[in-house]
């Protein structure tokens, strides 16, 4: 168990084995992302743009080149 020095023994914590399994699964996901073809990775970039763009837009005005590539020419791209 992962327990802090002054932590009561009653606080439930994940086991080292569970944490290792979670980390293993994360590593598996990263490996799967690396194994995608370049075309699939480009699609992943576009998916990431959809996630990131609204966050940027909340912080500041978008620049002319900041748009989701799939939206170019659909009127949804930032101008």
């Amino acid at each position: 168990m992962n327990r802090g020095p002054n932590e009561p023994a009653t606080t439930p914590r994940p086991s080292v084995e569970l944490l290792e399994r979670l980390r293993d699964d994360k590593r598996r996901l990263h490996a799967a992302a690396r194994a995608l073809s370049p075309a699939e990775k480009v699609q992943r970039v576009i998916d990431l743009q959809r996630i990131v763009l609204p966050q940027i837009a909340r912080r500041r005005a978008l620049r002319s080149h900041e748009f989701v590539w799939d939206d170019a020419g659909t009127g949804k791209a930032a101008k």
Binding site: H30, A33, R34, L36, P38, A39, K41, V42, R44, V45, I46, L48, Q49, I51, V52, R63, S64, H65, E66, F67, W69, D70, A72, G73, T74
Partner: protein, 165 residues
């Protein structure tokens, strides 16, 4: 309009064939697509060597003229090709020259594309002017998750006086 990444890559290859560029290589975040996990980005960086660089100041006018003649609109410092904003970045020093000259020729959906090798990408990210937290994360990803030629990386870092974090 559907995005056409292959068209953006093919345009660089055409510019090289037609003598607008001496050579080119994809760099920046989109180069990671060929070596490791993709990251969010909004443009394609193409590092270029330009012909006839006999003056101290480099002009991108020939690239912009070629783009206009081929129907690719300019948006600020980008040219939009296949729905993708592309920045053509003249090599800024000897390291960038070497990165372009020694780029790997890879395939994207049947289109040959020159891509800066991961060892040179790492070195470019470690240059003082480029060394941001975001780029250092990319350095870590390239070192941990892609096949790096350690001897080549060491040689580049030594020759250009760069240090890993």
């Amino acid at each position: 309009m559907a995005v056409n990444f292959a068209a953006a890559l093919a345009a660089s290859e055409r510019m090289k064939r037609e003598g607008v560029l001496t050579n080119y290589a994809v760099g920046g975040a989109m180069a990671l697509v060929f070596w490791t996990e993709p990251v969010a980005t909004f443009d394609l960086d193409v590092f270029v060597l330009l012909p006839g660089e006999t003056t101290l100041l480099i002009s991108l006018d020939p690239i912009y003229r070629w783009a206009a003649a081929n129907g690719y609109p300019a948006e600020g410092e980008h040219i939009v090709i296949g729905g993708i904003p592309v920045q053509f970045i003249p090599a800024h020093n000897a390291l960038a020259d070497e990165a372009i000259e020694q780029a790997a020729t890879l395939d994207y959906e049947g289109v040959p594309v020159r891509v800066i090798r991961p060892e040179h990408l790492i070195a470019l990210y470690l240059e003082p002017s480029a060394r941001t937290a975001k780029r250092l994360q990319r350095v870590a990803a390239l070192r941990e998750e892609s096949v790096i030629d350690a001897a080549l990386l060491d040689s580049i870092l030594r020759r250009y006086n760069l240090e890993l974090p």
